[in-house]
């Protein structure tokens, strides 16, 4: 079966005073109907990889690839019109913090219905939006529709964001640290909702996070990124068989509930990983 998305040798560079700096250096992967996790520390290029898939690399940066194909469409030279028909309708993205990612002067309802209306469905926009808010387990969707983003808690805001991104039933959802800005207590709740919807609707998911443990729980396959490269790719169920020293080091640093090891283990970095 042909993969939904295939990426080959993706490179993203930003100019700096010392010449261009590559933040993503030759990332390649294929994605089918599955949940793929991308883990890495900050600056490893995982978010930029996610954004490049949507053609949202910041204007100052340049993204190149030998292949960047979504369902037969070559994304490398997609026109503005093609992008508009892909974004929202077929691929979308949930971002980190609903405090910043929702428009502060528009009601949730207006933002949600805008997504529906853009991809056909003017008449049923309201019903669809209400149903979607219920699907993300918001109990009083009418009130939330009329609310402004600052009137919602972080968890509620992020659920509204997920609703907004899934209401058009895309094929691919990119979740870029969707729970990092939330309280620990609501993190799992929001993730469960996201996971259920993705599974029910048979969507592909790219889950970007710095939390190795979380990613291995919610994904089928994990890419470990370090300094702009994929250093390891493995099945989530085979986490213990990781072979790259970076992944091993990260796993070693996870605290266990029984043994208390002092001093705490520290990740020893090796310059060889950069190559």
């Amino acid at each position: 079966m042909k993969p939904l998305l295939s990426v080959e040798n993706l490179r993203i560079a930003f100019p700096s005073r010392q010449g261009p700096v590559e933040v993503v250096r030759g990332v390649s992967f294929n994605l089918g109907r599955e949940r793929l996790g991308i883990v890495g520390e900050s600056g490893s290029g995982k978010s930029q990889t996610g954004r490049a898939l949507l053609g949202l690399t910041p204007v100052s940066g340049t993204a190149t690839a030998d292949r960047l194909e979504f369902d037969g469409v070559d994304l490398r030279n997609a026109t503005a019109k093609q992008w508009r028909s892909l974004r929202g309708a077929r691929m979308s993205m949930v971002m980190q913090d609903p405090k910043f990612s929702l428009n502060p002067v528009m009601t949730i309802g207006k933002q949600l219905m805008e997504a529906v209306k853009l991809h056909g469905g003017k008449s049923e926009a309201r019903d669809k939006s209400l149903a979607m808010l219920e699907a993300v387990q918001i109990r009083d969707p009418d009130r939330v529709m009329a609310a402004y983003p600052h009137e919602l808690s972080g968890g509620m805001g992020q659920r509204a964001m997920i609703a907004m991104m899934l209401v058009t039933e895309p094929d691919l959802l990119i979740a870029d640290e969707p729970t990092s800005a939330l309280d620990v207590t609501v993190q799992i709740e929001v993730l469960r909702i996201l996971d259920n919807l993705v599974t029910q609707r048979g969507m592909s998911l790219i889950f970007i996070s710095h939390d190795l443990k979380l990613v291995s729980t919610f994904c089928d396959r994990v890419l470990v990124m370090y300094a702009g490269r994929v250093v390891e790719e493995l099945d989530a169920s085979r986490m213990s068989e990781a072979s790259h020293p970076y992944t091993r080091g990260l796993l070693n640093c996870l605290p266990t509930i029984t043994g208390d090891s002092r001093p705490l283990p520290v990740l020893a970095r090796d310059d060889a990983w950069l190559e």
């Binding site: 949507l54 503005a80 910043f100 990612s101 428009n103 502060p104 805008e114 997504a115 009137e151």
Partner: protein, 350 residues
């Protein structure tokens, strides 16, 4: 149930807010009265001499001194001043021998009309130009806008005014010359509001209306250009700030068209601080642009105040100052009100 509860809580806050607002306004205007009163007493202009002239006898001088209430203690004088000011009595102008309030009622509409047309031009051009420059940051358009803005900032207005008169009036005859209206049209209508554009239009005097338009075009365009330079620069920087926000990325992810992202999502947010910028430039124009009014022989507030100042007509100067202060307070209130309308985050906060 929930909503009715919300209303109960909302009512006292609205009332409290209104009262706090009223208190602020009263306090500000009171402060203004204190300042104008003290200035009137501190300046080395003898108000009695201004009335009687320097050849009056000592007995006349003393009589007027008492008439003006200058023999009473300062606080009594002040309370009399406030009492009169509240009823709109600022005394008489030494120069025109008419009550200040009548003089201002005649001069202010001229300034109001010019400033209003000016700020409309400035906003109508300034906002889109600023947005355009922000969207094409660093490109040719941005540079052109920057240079135009720089000229608007640094070229003296009287110079541009004279240049405008030379080219558009004297050379090409495209617009009418100085003044608000030609003498031949002056009695074609009754100035009810004092805003000639409105008066002539309402009375169907289209010939006079065209003449008024022709007169106001150049000075209003000039004031419009100056406020446009400022408004465009501020719009550009507010828009750059908004376009860098995450919600813009969200809108792109949703597949929103670029024009809608710019003009609906981002501009709607940039409009919040922009309202204050526009209101304050409007207030600046309402002060009466002395130079513009002088160059164009515009019988407005700026000209009236300069004239009074040069003739030591203190009543007129202080009355005008007070009016300008009140305009500032009023426009600030208006922009605060619009601010809460535009930004839901301010609306519900007490």
């Amino acid at each position: 149930m929930k909503t009715s509860e919300g209303h109960h809580r909302a009512l006292p806050t609205v009332l409290g807010k209104a009262m706090r607002l009223a208190a602020t306004v009263v306090f500000t205007i009171f402060g203004l009265l204190v300042v104008t009163f003290l200035i009137g007493r501190v300046v080395p202009v003898d108000p009695v001499l201004a009335v009687v002239g320097d050849r009056a006898s000592q007995s006349t001088y003393d009589k007027v001194f008492v008439e003006l209430g200058l023999d009473k203690p300062l606080y009594v004088q002040f309370s009399l001043y406030v009492e009169k000011a509240v009823t709109g009595d600022f005394g008489e102008s030494f120069l025109t021998k008419k009550p200040i309030i009548d003089d201002i009622a005649r001069a202010f509409p001229a300034t109001l009309e010019l400033a209003t047309v000016g700020i409309i031009i400035g906003t109508l051009f300034g906002v889109p130009v600023g947005v355009w420059a922000a969207v094409r940051q660093g490109k040719l358009v941005d540079q052109v806008v920057r240079i135009l803005g720089l000229v608007g900032y640094s070229a003296p207005i009287f110079w541009l005014g004279l240049l405008g008169l030379l080219v558009f009036y004297a050379k090409w005859g495209l617009v009418a010359g100085p003044g608000r209206i030609d003498i031949s049209y002056e009695y074609a209508f009754t100035p009810k509001t004092g805003l000639f554009l409105l008066d002539t239009a309402m009375q169907g005097q289209w010939g006079a209306f065209r003449n008024v338009v022709s007169h106001i075009a150049l000075p209003a365009a000039l004031l419009g250009y100056y406020s446009m330079a400022y408004i465009a620069r501020m719009t550009r920087s507010f828009m750059l700030n908004e376009l860098a926000q995450e919600y813009v990325v969200t809108a792109r992810v949703k597949g929103v068209a670029e024009w809608r992202i710019i003009w609906v999502h981002a501009l709607r947010n940039a409009a919040v601080p922009l309202v204050t910028v526009i209101a304050l430039s409007y207030a600046g124009l309402l002060e009466g642009s002395v130079l513009t009014e002088t160059v164009f022989a515009w019988p407005g507030l700026g000209q009236y105040l300069t004239n009074s100042l040069q003739n030591a007509d203190m009543n007129a100067v202080l009355g005008g100052t007070l009016l300008i202060g009140i305009i500032f307070v009023g426009l600030n209130l208006l922009s605060d009100f619009l601010y809460t309308l535009l930004d839901p985050r301010v609306r519900r906060r007490t």
